[in-house]
Amino acid sequence: MSTAATGTPAGTTALSKGPATEPPGAPGGGRNPVLARLTDVGFWADWAALVGLVALVVVFAILDPGFLSTGNITGMLSASAALVILAVAQTFVVATAGIDLSIASVTTLGIVVLGQLYVADQPLWVCFVGAVLASLLAGLVNGLLVAKAKITDFVVTLGMLSAASGLALVLSDGQPVTVTEGFFFDISLDGPVEMVSWIVVIAAVVAVLAHVVLYHTRFGTHVLATGGSPEAATATGISTARIKIAVYAIAGLLAGIAAIIIVARLGSTPPAANTSYLLNSVAAVVLGGVSLFGGRASILGPVFGALLLTVLLNGLTTLGVSQYYQPLSVGVVVVAAAFLMRFQK
């Protein structure tokens, strides 16, 4: 988690090509690349999520032959879709050295708005737009309070966590709505190819777009600059306030999309916030090697982080481990990952 320089000698530039600002395999001289990488703890730290994911898959596949069945893989991918999107959302905020604690509540707000519009017999597209707009608006409020009112991100989003969950309970009167719309079954069960449902496609598209935005647009560079050094960003004329508003708004927008996916999977609109989405989105970001101090981010890392957490929970379930052990295991994995990040370049 700490980005403090670990005193590595200069000249090992090839090893610095982690997922942070350059795509892996980018040009840049390497000395004895394979061996140097494998013996370097920094490399493992950079790729902790992917390495952990592969290791878990291997272990669970050995322990339970059914783990790699078509059905289970389909299920895991679908189960990971919402978390992947929320992890991407959290990544943008964390890249500016902020944090969005309200992300799960804002998702729930979107879910409830969708449910209420559905009950009111609105066409499906109105339900979707309403859900996304409600979440986007909540994110925008977060951003304005952080950037303009200059209240600490922690306090603002903690307030929004409570406010959005409260609003969700008020709007829904605490009652879930059952959504029996064929469309939802279609996108969560069918897909373009075997094992990949449409909601997984949506999550993949979100991740690809996010990667493009972060690495191939001026905005993305300014996000990293805002997180890495607000003084330098300001000195070169970047409006850090506008960047901050934008990243919280993006987080809200993506929470709205996640809301639609969750409703599609559950077939109902639970009015109570699922706090595990908050913890797991932050966990995925940490597992993905994104610095909580801002300035260093990747999209691929948190996506692998989200997949890892989904595989972990699914694997424990298929092995018959009690549900009660799941939060415990997530906690251990996240802290272990954070410890490994100390060796990150």
């Binding site: 647009t217 990293l224 600059a225 003084e231 330098a232 000195a235 004329g237």
Partner: protein, 259 residues
């Protein structure tokens, strides 16, 4: 006495063409603190002009007026003989005045080329043109710096001198005409200082005017053609470097020589 000095100074710079930058009677107060009082300073094109003075003499405040951070309360600033008024650092940059800040204003986790093009990114169809920026950054750096850092390496991995070089390259690029440097070698070792000094000379040889704030009198004598001395918010003296000595400058700064 002050006016006498000013005349001498004016006579000194008269050999050059119209000053690229000129402050006339610039005054600025922060509350009851009079940071600048009727300051007259000129920067000639193609020269390194040094600005010296004790801490709190008003050097940085004056420089911030030039770079658009502060706005003088009275007096005027002329660029090529035309009065200008910069409301923001952006406006000053647009007019060709670049500042190398003391903290260098670099983002450590971004690469050298990303820092060089920060907020001036080249795009193609709305997407970053990373390849072209890398190529151009390589050109910018290799044309100027002696100790060329790899443009794809992150700033975090660079030495103090290399960081300074990156910051100076950024200021020198983008067709800037005047580069203001606030103590560019304050934090550097002997060798790195020498390299940065070479870089400053190269900048001048390429036609940039340089305004150099420095506490190092040897450096001022080595590099500059013109020296302005500030004391307690006033510009107390201006000298051609060849016509003065380090001792005289020290005397002017401390007030031992009234100026």
């Amino acid at each position: 006495m002050t006016s006498l000095e000013k005349n001498t100074a004016a006579g000194g710079t008269a050999v050059a063409a119209t000053p690229i930058l000129e402050a006339r009677n610039v005054s600025l107060s922060f509350g009851s603190v009079r940071a600048l009082r009727d300051v007259d300073v000129t920067v000639a094109p193609g020269e390194i002009t040094a600005l010296v003075g004790d801490n709190g003499a008003g050097k940085s405040t004056l420089v911030r007026c030039f770079s658009g951070v502060h706005k003088p309360q009275s007096g005027e600033i002329l660029l090529d003989g035309e009065p200008v008024s910069f409301c923001t650092p952006e406006a000053a940059r647009g007019a060709g005045i670049e500042t190398v800040h003391q903290n260098l204003a670099l983002v450590e986790d971004l690469t050298v080329w990303q820092n060089l093009f920060l907020n001036r990114e080249l795009t193609r169809f709305g997407m970053l043109d990373r390849k072209r920026m890398r190529t151009e950054a390589q050109k910018m750096v290799s044309e100027l710096a002696v100790n060329v850092p790899e443009v794809t390496s992150r700033v975090r991995r660079l030495s103090g001198g290399q960081r300074q070089a990156v910051s100076i390259c950024r200021a020198a690029g983008f067709s800037s005409r005047l580069v203001i440097m606030d103590e560019p070698t304050a934090a550097l070792g002997v060798q790195e200082t020498a390299r940065v000094e070479q870089l400053i000379l190269k900048l001048r040889d390429e036609g940039h005017a340089v305004l150099l704030i420095s506490h190092n009198f040897d450096q001022v004598m080595r590099l500059s053609q013109q020296v302005w001395v500030m004391r307690a918010g006033r510009c107390v003296a201006g000298r051609r470097t060849e016509a003065t000595t380090g001792q005289e400058i020290v005397g002017l700064i401390t007030g031992a020589i009234p100026g």
